[in-house]
């Protein structure tokens, strides 16, 4: 398959789309941070009655942590609603991989929520998911690489 063609014709569901972590708008920031830590994930969608109202990512968490070092941890007591980013850029399920790459590159996003026509979150597409898609599509080129560029075998193994 031609990768160039597949980038523009293949839809984002061909890439691994992660199950989104969802919390309510009243959830305390501290609890949200703990859940991100437990699940080792970098973002959470804030939803009210099935509809997405915001996103909170590890970048937002970083900024809060930097502020908390100066202003104290009471910063983490408030609801997530107050610190989330409202109306995030989203993708619909019929978006192509190329358009997702372009959106991420232009906006500087590392993850985009995938939503259905009613704005209900279906999943999360991350930059790592796209890298995985690309690697999967060059299986021979990429998987046959030596683990270190300098460690290529001098001779074929075996008889």
């Amino acid at each position: 398959m031609d990768v160039e063609l597949s980038l523009t014709t293949q839809l984002i569901h061909e890439a691994p789309i992660a199950e989104p972590l969802i919390v309510g708008p009243d959830e305390p920031v501290r609890d949200v941070l703990r859940r991100l830590q437990e699940l080792r994930t970098g973002s959470v969608l804030v939803c009210r009655d099935d509809r997405m109202v915001g996103i909170f990512t590890e970048r937002d968490a970083l900024q809060l942590m930097a502020r908390a070092c100066r202003e104290g941890e009471s910063l983490f007591d408030g609801p997530i609603e107050e610190v989330m980013v409202t109306s995030p850029v989203t993708l619909t399920q019929d978006a192509s991989i190329a358009s997702a790459i372009r959106k991420m590159s232009e906006g500087g996003y590392r993850r985009l929520p995938v939503v259905d026509a009613q704005g209900r979150p279906q999943g999360m597409l991350t930059v790592s998911g796209i890298v995985h898609f690309l690697v999967e599509h060059f299986p021979e080129t990429v998987y046959n690489l030596p683990p270190d560029p300098k460690l290529a075998p001098q001779e074929r193994e075996g008889a």
Partner: protein, 176 residues
């Protein structure tokens, strides 16, 4: 591209059928048993070196730097990670992900502790002149977003997935 084969180790063009690469003398036997790059995207990723992504000089801190200072630099310089170095030696990397997983809601209590306690040691690195596919491979396997690059034996740059996406958009899918 018929009649020629790209060496996957040093990206030199070779005449199809030769046993070893004219440039680096690595065996080409495996390469010629498998298919050749089938598209422009794949060919470019094999041919282009990491320097084509425009690696920027890394932001470097010492191992004793208090972690709150590191958080501030990540925020003010709008970057995702810093390299922890001492005497030109790379000790580790501290990224947003380390902040989230290791500091989390305890950030204020841990603020004055040295960054070396929270960094990720044993960093995966590459060279400026390695192919882009090597970086993709490492990022996919390890789940990394940044890879420090060496040039002439010294850490001289860092590339991120963001740099790679910019390269994809600029060079490869610009026309679509």
């Amino acid at each position: 591209m018929d009649g020629r084969v790209i060496c996957p180790h040093c990206s030199t063009w070779n005449i199809a059928g030769v046993d070893t690469c004219a440039q680096c003398h690595q065996s080409l036997a495996d390469v010629q048993l498998t298919r050749k790059p089938m598209s422009r995207v794949e060919e470019n990723l094999l041919r282009d070196r990491l320097r084509a992504l425009g690696p920027v000089p890394p932001v470097v801190v010492g191992p004793e730097t208090p972690v709150c200072e590191v958080l501030d630099r990540l925020v003010t310089e709008k970057i995702g990670c810093v390299l922890v170095m001492e005497d030109d030696q790379l000790l580790g990397i501290f990224s947003e992900r380390d902040a989230l997983l290791k500091l989390n809601a305890d950030a204020a209590q841990l603020a004055t502790r040295p960054v070396s306690e929270f960094m990720t040691p044993s960093v995966e690195t590459l060279e400026f002149d390695d192919s882009i596919v090597f970086a993709l491979h490492k990022m996919d396997l390890g789940g990394f977003r940044h890879i420090p690059l060496y040039r002439d034996g010294k850490v001289a740059g860092i590339v991120s997935i963001r740099d790679f996406f910019r390269y994809m958009v600029d060079d490869l899918i610009a026309t679509t």
